[in-house]
Subunit: 189 residues, 2 copies
C-alpha cells in the first residue's frame, strides 16, 4: 500500500473499491525544488499530499512574501482555504525541496462522495484533523513568544533551518529576519 493510501486509511478503514475509486482521480508526481505548485488568485482544485519534501505556503503583504505555514512529509500542501470554499486563494505554494506528492483532483470527488458514504466520513475526519492543526497554530500565536514558536517549529521539523531560508522562517513566526537571527544567537548555548 502506498503512502497516500496509508494516510487515508489512518482516518477510517477503506475497502479496496473505495481505494481504487480514489486512486482513479489521484496522480503521483515527483517535483523539483523551487517549483511553484500553486499561484494566488486561482481556485485550488487539487488536494496535494506530501509523501516527501517540504512546501512553503505563503502570501504577499506589502509586496513582501510572508510564510503562512510549512507543510512537510505526511501533510497537505494545498490552498485549503480555496479548496474548501471554491473561492480564489491568496496563498502561493512553493516546494522548497525535491518532493513527491499525490494530487487528488478534488473537483472530481463529488461522485465518489455519492457512491461511497464512507468517503464523506473520511472527508469529515480529514478536515477535522486540519482544523485541529490550524487551531494549534492559532494557539501558538496567542500563547507563545517568537522564541517559543521557533522552538515548537523545530520540534515539528527539526532540520527546518537547514532546509529553507531564514527569512521564510522569520515571516512564518511573524518577526523580522534580524530578530530571528538574534534569538538564535542567544539561544544556542
Amino acid at each position: 500500500m502506498n503512502a497516500f493510501l496509508r494516510y487515508l486509511n489512518s482516518f477510517t478503514p477503506l475497502t479496496g473499491d473505495v481505494q481504487e475509486a480514489i486512486l482513479r482521480i489521484t496522480i503521483r508526481r515527483e517535483v523539483k525544488a523551487g517549483e511553484l505548485l500553486f499561484d494566488q488568485g486561482n481556485i485550488c482544485k487539487e488536494f496535494h499530499y506530501l509523501e516527501s519534501g517540504i512546501a512553503r505556503v505563503f502570501y504577499y503583504k506589502d509586496g513582501k512574501e510572508v510564510t503562512a505555514w510549512f507543510a512537510s512529509q505526511g501533510q497537505i500542501a494545498s490552498a485549503i482555504d480555496s479548496l474548501f470554499s471554491g473561492k480564489p486563494s491568496f496563498y502561493n505554494i512553493q516546494l522548497t525541496e525535491d518532493s513527491i506528492l499525490w494530487s487528488l483532483q478534488f473537483d472530481k470527488i463529488e461522485p465518489v462522495f455519492e457512491q461511497f458514504p464512507v468517503v464523506e466520513r473520511l472527508g469529515r475526519l480529514m478536515i477535522t484533523h486540519n482544523y485541529l492543526l490550524l487551531d494549534e497554530r492559532m494557539k501558538l500565536f496567542a500563547f507563545c513568544s517568537a522564541e517559543e514558536r521557533y522552538e515548537k517549529l523545530l520540534l515539528q521539523i527539526p532540520d527546518i533551518a537547514q532546509r529553507t531560508k531564514l527569512g521564510y522562517i522569520a515571516s512564518y513566526l511573524g518577526i523580522s529576519q534580524e530578530h530571528l537571527s538574534r534569538i538564535r544567537s542567544t539561544y544556542k548555548k
Copy 2:
C-alpha cells in the same frame, strides 16, 4: 422550523427523520448573562448553537484571561478543539449576555452518523465552514494591524463595544486595553 434546524439545513437539506434524530439529542436552553458554559480541562461533549446572545471563549495566559474569540448569534459556542479531538480543552466559555442556545449532545451522534450518511456530509460541511472561519481569523492576524482588526470585528458585531468589556476585546485583538483605548480615541473622527 426552529433556528437550529434552519442553520443545519443551510449546509445540506435534511429530511424529516434526520431532523427528528438530531433533535432527539439536542436541548434548547435559555441561559443568563455571566454563566460559564464550559470550563477548561474538561472534554467538551456538547455542540452549542447560539440562537441569540454572545459568548466569550477565553483561556488563561500568565494568570490573565485572554479572549480567543467571540461567538455571536448564529455561531457555535463550543470548545471546538476538544469537541473534535476528544481531548481536554483549555478554553473556557462564558455567556456575556442572556442567551438562547441549542446544545447537541455530541457524544450521542455516532449512531446518527451511522444511520444517516447525510449527517456525515452535514458534519463535513459544518467543520469545513468552521475551518474557513478560523482561517479568516488567522489571516486577520497575519495581515492586519490592531486597528484594522478592530474595525473588522465591528463589522462582524457592530455593537460589540456596548455588549462586552473593553479588556475582553483588547485581549482578543492581542493588544493591551490601554492601546485599544488610544486606538479608539484617534479613530472616532
